[in-house]
Amino acid sequence: MTLTRRRFLTGAAALGATALGATACTSPTTANPGKTTLWYSTNGVSEKVLDQAVRRFPAQHLTPNEVSGELNRRLLAALSGEAYLPDITMLGDGISTYFSATDRFADLNALGARQDEANYLPWKWQAGRSPDGFQLGFPIDTGPAALYYRHDLFAEAGLPAEPDAVAAALSTWDDYFEFALRVKDKLPGRYLITDTKMVFTYSLAQEEQKYLDRQNRYLEDQSQVRRAWDRAVKAFRMGLTAGYAGSATGEGVDRRAAWTNGKEVAFVNASWITGNLKRSAPGTSGRWHVCQAPGGPGNQGGSFLAITRYCPDPQGAYDIVKWLMSPENQAAAYLELGLFPSSPAAYSDPSVLAPEEFFGGQATIGVFGAIAEKVQPVYFSPWDITISDTYTDELTNVEAAGKDPEQAWEDARTAVERLLRRQGVLA
């Protein structure tokens, strides 16, 4: 490495000048000035539909940008730094976090959303509206939860394999646990329950309330949480949970391996997992069916699109959003990724009634549609994600570290109450 003095100095001077010169121009407010940037998380919006939109709206220069699972963190950072902001962004079920910052977004009602409201599920539409009537989110999908199972392996083990028969045999969680025990005998080393988190999350999703009410008050009665907790602990005690590494965060690669090699023969999840399942385990195509989940209908997740205040052409952005979420395009997103349409008109679209190859010829809309019809809208507070994480962290401690379930429950309750006290929800 020869570093002559002159070369060093010239280089230093040039770079110093470049750095100073670059300092003079500051970061742009939106990510791609002159273009309409749309942020979405993996499998959150259909890329095929997005591609069509790019061509359909040349004036807006739509620029889709996939931001993986950390969209929320990036959006908050961009909002507080007021730089590189998206014009349109996806928001998850934690949309209520942004109700206290509606001045950063465009009110969709001012852009003509009132005329479109009637085409979407009323409860879902309402979930995107702040308490003072600001329409922040345009519905993408809802999350009706069903049982996904490998019909080939069920049949191989001499168990019922047709959706109606499976659903009839597994109407309650206890039925499901008993069934899982039988499968374990016949197919050793395979699992029907991903982890305690799966049981807790989807059991709670079947309840009429979660943690807080619409006024962000902590519910006096948290017995529904305890019910879901006890069910999760029971599944663990019966030795039915696989407990993959990282599954608590949903980012584990082991579970994907288990899908691929057939170790996970069934699981309960909202319909939006379909895209992930198809892409993670393409080799299992044709071997899956879905049917009603044990314990009844429930909804988990579902997203929105919002337009930020920084978007120079909100009306143009709204046109894109409206087109992306038209019934036909929602039907396409359902078939591609399992994003369950928030527009009822999409349920009768001929394309979704056709047999689906990945699901062994089953048209899954029949199953998810029936569940979606019976789902009760449940309020999702700004702290729900952290609260759920706190409970499922403690469940993971029981499952992976042998912690006493009662102790874990006490610790989770204490941690949740401390969090809410720090946030000023509890006195």
């Binding site: 490495m1 770079l15 750095a19």
Partner: protein
Amino acid sequence: MNRTAKPGTLLTYGAMVVGALITLFPYYQLAVMASNTTADIYSSPPTFWFGGHLFENIGEVFAKIDFFGSLLNTLVVAIATTVLVLFFDSLAAFTFAKYDFPGSNVLFGILLATFVVPTQLAAIPQFDLMAKFGLVGSLNALIIPAAANAFGIFWMRQYARGAISDEVLEAARVDGAGFFRTYLSVGLPVLRPALAFLGIFTFVNAWNDYLWPLVVLIDSNHTTLQVALSQLNGLYLQDYAVVMAGTLVAIVPLVIVFLFGARHFIRNIAAGAVKG
């Protein structure tokens, strides 16, 4: 093999080679995974031999993330940081080592005390500062705060104290050379080995920095290699072979840089510890 080698030496040599192979195994296995399909990686027993899908996987990486853009950004940050650090640190180190001026001891003491401030924890306020400067998302947000650092000044001062003789400085003064000229003509040439070390050290650190870029570079199309890599992991968990291919192409440039500068670097890293 050396015929006259004693059995003890042979044993040591064997152990050293086995240790080196274990150390290098992760690189080998990374290349293996990057050249197989995801289904092959998931298989049990694990795959230990190369597959034929390397270029296909790398192609996916290039399609998914702006690899060359991230590479360029990382290069700009690493080079700019390195040059600025070398200049500012060597100048300050030369001054602290060879000049006694009012307050020099106190100021050097303050400099040492700044070691204690864990830089990662300033992340929230620094983010806010960058927002005020309008630099959130800009590469300058990485370069400017890192342009001079206490470690480099301290380390170089230790080196300069012994390496630059007072007689030469005095001779330069008699010749009528000013302070800055003396630094250029006397200080810098002597400090060259130390500069080479600090240069590689700074370059490697800037290249591998993760937490701060993760926080401040909010536009995923305008980021560094490390952040792009962690995004690829989030985006492509469904196709693990692609994540591995991305990991492979991300480490190759720096490994090459290191292999070229390795001799200088390894010799000097130790010099700092033993002298300091």
